[in-house]
Symmetry: C2
Subunit: 243 residues, 2 copies
C-alpha cells in the first residue's frame, strides 16, 4: 500500500457554506487535488459550496458524467456506460494517488449517503488509504429549513429514491412511516400520484435547494408545475405529524 497518496471523501453539506464542518475545511486546505462530479456542460454544485476555501495552486479534477438521459437506470447500455465512467474516474484519481498526492473528492451532503464518491472509494481502497468525512445530508438541511420534526420516538424513517416505480412507491407510502423522497427531479408527477394513492399527499412538503439563498419550500399540493431539480426532496410526515 502506498501510504503517501490518500483519498478523502469530503461531505460538503446541503448547500449553505456555513454548514461545512471544520474537518471538511481542513481537508480542503491540505489537499493537493480536489475532484468533483458534474454533468458535462454543468458546473459542480459541490465546488460552488466550497469555492472560498480553494487555494489558487490547488489542482482540480472534474469528473464529468456521461450523458445518460435517454436511457432508464436499469438499461444495460446505461449500466455499462456508468460503470465505464466510474472505472475511468477511479483511474484518473489513482494516478494522483500514485504520485503521492492527497485527493479530496467533494460530495454534496454526505459522501456515503446515495453519492457518487462510493464508486471511487470501493475501486481504490485496496491500494491506497482512504478517509471519509461525513457531512450534513440534504434531507437534514430540508427538514431543518421546514422546522419539521420528521422522525421521533419509535418512528421508522424510510428514505426512498424517487426513481422507484410507482407501485413500489405506493406500497412504501402505505406503510405510513415518516418518509423522505430523494432525487425528485423529473419524477415529481409520479411521486405526487403515489402519495395521493396512499392518502398521504396532504402533509407532504416540497423543498428545492434547501438551505441555499434561493431555497423554495412549500406544501406539495401547492407545487402545481412539474419542474423540479434533481436534488429536490419531498418530506412526508408520519401519522403523528400529518396535516
Amino acid at each position: 500500500m502506498n501510504t503517501s497518496g490518500r483519498l478523502i471523501g469530503v461531505g460538503v453539506g446541503p448547500g449553505d457554506p456555513g454548514l461545512l464542518t471544520l474537518k471538511a475545511i481542513r481537508a480542503l486546505e491540505s489537499a493537493d487535488v480536489i475532484a468533483h462530479f458534474a454533468k458535462a456542460g454543468n458546473l459542480s454544485n459541490a465546488r460552488a459550496i466550497v469555492e472560498q476555501y480553494l487555494r489558487p495552486e490547488l489542482q482540480e479534477l472534474a469528473l464529468l458524467y456521461p450523458i445518460t438521459t435517454e436511457h432508464a437506470t436499469d438499461d444495460p447500455v446505461y449500466r455499462n456506460s456508468i460503470r465505464k465512467f466510474f472505472d475511468e474516474a477511479a483511474s484518473a484519481v489513482a494516478a494522483h494517488l500514485k504520485a503521492g498526492r492527497t485527493v479530496a473528492v467533494l460530495s454534496e451532503g454526505d459522501p456515503l449517503f446515495f453519492g457518487s464518491y462510493m464508486h471511487l472509494h470501493i475501486r481504490v481502497m485496496k491500494d491506497y488509504p482512504t478517509e471519509v468525512i461525513p457531512g450534513v445530508t440534504g434531507m437534514s438541511g430540508c427538514w431543518s429549513a421546514a422546522g419539521l420534526p420528521l422522525a421521533q420516538g419509535d418512528d421508522v424513517l424510510t428514505v426512498l429514491p424517487a426513481t422507484l416505480d410507482e407501485g413500489e412507491l405506493i406500497r412504501r407510502f402505505r406503510q405510513n412511516d415518516p418518509s423522505v423522497v430523494m432525487k425528485v427531479g423529473r419524477h415529481l408527477a409520479k411521486v405526487r400520484r403515489a402519495l395521493h394513492s396512499a392518502q398521504r399527499l396532504a402533509g407532504a412538503i416540497y423543498v428545492e435547494r434547501g438551505t441555499m439563498d434561493d431555497q423554495r419550500l412549500m406544501p406539495l399540493v401547492e407545487k402545481t408545475d412539474e419542474a423540479a431539480p434533481y436534488f429536490a426532496i419531498v418530506l412526508v410526515p408520519g401519522r403523528a405529524w400529518a396535516a
Copy 2:
C-alpha cells in the same frame, strides 16, 4: 411574537468536535444561554463536544430527564412523566426567551432527527422565532468511520429504533433494505436475535461512540457481550453489500 428572544436548535454532530459546522460554532458564540439535555447525574455528551466554544459568561440551562428506566416507553406513567418534563423544560427556556435572550439548545447529531430538541421547538414556536441548524447525524458518522457505502442507487434506507418489538424488527429486516438501527443500548440482544431470524446478522456492523477517540467498531457477530451504550448503532447492509 417577541422578536428579540430566539430559540436555536444546534446540531453538534456525532461526537468529533471537528464535525461541528461553522454555523453551529457561530450560534454558540452569539448565544446568551445554552441548554442541554442529560440524564440526572450524567454530564451532557453534547456539551462535551462543544466545550471549547463556550464563553465564560454564557448562562447554562441543564435539562435533566426524569429517571424512567423502571417503565416501558408505552407505559402511561412514563408518558405522563416525560410530557411533564418537556412542558417544564419548555417553560424554563421560554422564561429566557421572554427576557429577550437567544437560547441555543445543544443537540447530538441533528436536532430534528430522533432528538429531544423538537419537544421544545413545538412548544415555543408559536410565541418565539426559531431556527434549526442541521448537524451531521450519528449514523453518517458511523458509516463514514466504517467506510461502508450503506445506501446507493435505488436502495430504500430504513432507520429503525431498537425500541421496536422483536417481531416488528424481524418484519422490517426481512424487507432486505439497507438499515440503520438506532438507540441500541439495552436492546442489543433483541436486535441480534431479530437480525439472525431475518438472516441478516452476517453483514451487520456494530459501532459505539462513532467518530470519537474511543470509538469501537466491529462485525456484530464479534460483539459477544450485551453491554452497549444508548447511542450505539448497528449498520445493516442491503443485499448488494452484504458479507
